[in-house]
């Protein structure tokens, strides 16, 4: 019985990270129609930068916050490059972000080397339902919920958030009421940077990250986003959690290396099953 709770908890924790990465995909896609391949890279940057800041002696909380701010800025930079030419087809923008993720891998090797790194997290553990749960994992869940509530409040209940949604919904009308659609695109990239950075900062203590960690994260995040049709944030959260838990259960009860395969197969099945509704969303 203990085992299941452990798998559940670690699955939910990593699922939150998938959901956060996925929400970054959703935000950028809603506003710009671009799929941002660097979502995983941004998480890795978040982890690496917080590692360095903590190693420099900065206190917990401050180091992570600064790391997230930094990834927001990096996200903004990526947006500037991906959106630099008006009228670029979204597939080309996807490949530009692919190029950016490869370039970033080079930068990460240059600055942090090739070995996986893991910053210290919150120490200790808490007892829930007779099982001992690491405080770090609890933190992940709490932060993820707070972030998602914040995103919901922002997009559905704030004027600025509605402006972003409008830019996505009808760029022509948005331009007419004075919304700077390109600026909204850049804002969405910056938000995605923050979301990716939070994901990285949260799971790096439990899962060491290196320059190659961006690919599995991006794939799982994308799979979570596909759950939400690349538009719904709440469904992305659910998708991420399901993927995380399923992966952990598979790793625990079956063969460990099939974890990624399960996530990928689930994503494929979902995309193919929903391909018509996904295509309708694209055409809008």
């Amino acid at each position: 019985m203990n085992d299941i709770i452990i798998y559940l908890v670690s699955g939910l924790a990593i699922g939150c990270a998938f959901a956060l990465v996925g929400s970054g995909f959703v935000v950028v896609h809603r506003v710009t129609r671009v799929v941002n391949f660097t979502q995983g890279t941004l998480a890795v940057f978040g982890a690496m930068i917080s590692y360095s800041l903590l190693a420099q002696g900065l206190p917990h909380g401050l180091a992570e916050a600064l790391a997230v701010l930094a990834t927001g800025a990096i996200g903004l930079l990526f947006g500037l490059i991906a959106l630099s030419r008006r009228g670029t087809p979204p597939l080309i923008s996807l490949m530009i972000t692919l190029g950016l993720s490869i370039f970033s891998a080079a930068v990460i090797i240059l600055v942090w080397g090739q070995d996986p790194l893991s910053p210290p997290g919150l120490p200790g553990s808490v007892s829930i339902a007779g099982a001992s749960i690491e405080t770090q994992r609890l933190l992940v869940a709490v932060v993820a919920v707070v972030v998602f509530v914040g995103l919901w409040l922002f997009f559905d209940h704030s004027y600025a958030g509605k402006g972003l949604t409008a830019a996505a919904s009808n760029p022509r009308a948005a331009a007419l009421v004075g919304i700077n659609v390109r600026r909204m695109g850049l804002v969405s990239f910056a938000i995605a940077g923050v979301l990716g950075g939070i994901a990285g900062v949260l799971i790096a203590p439990s899962n060491a990250m290196s320059f190659s960690s961006d690919l599995p994260l991006a794939l799982s995040g994308f799979a979570a986003a596909v759950f939400g049709g690349l538009t719904s944030l709440w469904k992305t959260l659910i998708g991420g959690l399901v993927l995380g838990v399923a992966g952990q259960l598979v790793a625990g009860y079956l063969v460990g290396s099939y974890q990624t395969v399960i996530a990928l197969v689930m994503m494929l099945v979902l995309m193919i099953a929903r391909h018509r509704s996904l295509a309708v969303e694209e055409a809008k």
């Binding site: 630099s84 087809p89 692919l98 490869i102 080079a106 090797i109 080397g113 794939l219």
Partner: protein, 322 residues
């Protein structure tokens, strides 16, 4: 450029390509470049005409390589038969997988093909018959009975022959009725559909053919480097294929060759540079990644149609005022 100039240019290139291996000390780079050109020629056709991106073409290279490895080592088949089967298995695999997969479009298909590559990699690393964690080694040399290709030069010419076959097949394909259907697809799928093109079958066809080319390249490389494992086909190489296709020019016959040659040369230059004294040993992969990426990004932003179409339209423009 007119027909005779084109023939002359191709002739010169063919001669250079055939003679070059005689002067190079180590042919690994040459063979890999030519095989990459084979893969990318197919990929450029698929991406250019079907208008879709495949980020996991390595899955089909792996299928070809694996066919050779498994049939010669585990099943003791004659090598030549194994080589012939490689593209067929890869194309068949693409066909079966493509039936559900090609319902996806745009970025969904891109991620779908990437997922396929990773699934293939995982299967290769876990299923013992496909190599398990150790891979399959000891693949015999390619040959028939007593005649065996045992040196690099032989494989270099084999690769060139494969490239020639690939280009020939592609050329005839493009000019055939099937080719017209594929080009109609590139314009607009719904328009093609109303014109009577069977969109599903056409996409499946070009996808399988591109996979076949990839499988052929994979099969040859399995003989050339007689070891195949899940790690032989990292995602980054599949991304490089895409980079080569984009830079060379999507939807053109020679774009694959141009892209493969240019990017491979770039990689070689970087390897040489990074080996110079004073630079740390990790400079190699860093410079390569950074340069590939920078070239891709710049090419996508400034030359989204690739080098070949841009150069040829520049040449056509200059001739136009006559």
């Amino acid at each position: 450029m007119n027909k005779w100039m084109r023939f002359a240019l191709i002739g010169v290139l063919a001669v250079v390509a055939a003679v070059l291996p005689l002067f190079l000390p180590d042919l690994t780079f040459y063979v890999q470049m030519v095989l990459a050109a084979v893969v990318v020629t197919g990929l450029a056709l698929f991406m250019g005409y079907a208008g879709q991106a495949s980020l996991g073409q390595g899955a089909f290279v792996a299928a070809g390589a694996l066919t050779v490895a498994v049939t010669t080592v585990q099943l003791q088949w004659p090598p030549l038969l194994a080589l012939v089967c490689a593209p067929l298995v890869a194309a068949g695999f693409a066909f079966v997988v493509g039936l559900p997969l090609l319902r996806l479009r745009g970025h969904y298909l891109a991620f779908g093909t990437l997922a396929l590559l990773l699934i293939v990699q995982t299967l290769m690393s876990t299923i013992p018959f496909l190599g398990g964690g150790l891979g399959i080694g000891g693949i015999p040399a390619l040959g028939v009975g007593e005649l065996v290709i045992s040196d690099q030069l032989g494989y270099a010419y084999l690769a060139l022959a494969a490239l020639a076959v690939t280009l020939l097949v592609s050329r005839n394909l493009v000019r055939s009725r099937f080719g017209r259907a594929v080009r109609a697809l590139a314009g607009s799928e719904s328009a093609a559909e109303s014109a009577g093109v069977d969109v599903v079958r056409t996409k499946l066809g070009i996808f399988s053919i591109a996979a076949g080319f990839a499988g052929l390249a994979g099969g040859i490389s399995a003989f050339f480097i007689p070891y195949v494992s899940g790690e032989s086909f990292p995602a980054v190489v599949s991304f490089t294929y895409v980079i080569m296709a984009v830079i060379g020019g999507l939807g053109t016959l020679w774009g694959g060759v141009v892209g493969a040659v240019l990017v491979s040369l770039l990689a070689q230059v970087l390897t040489t540079v990074s080996a110079s004294p004073g630079l740390p040993t990790t400079a190699g992969p860093i410079l390569q990644y950074a340069a590939y990426a920078a070239v891709l990004i710049l090419a996508l932003i400034f030359l989204p149609r690739g080098i070949l179409p841009s150069v040829s339209s520049a040449l056509t423009r200059r001739r136009a005022p006559r």
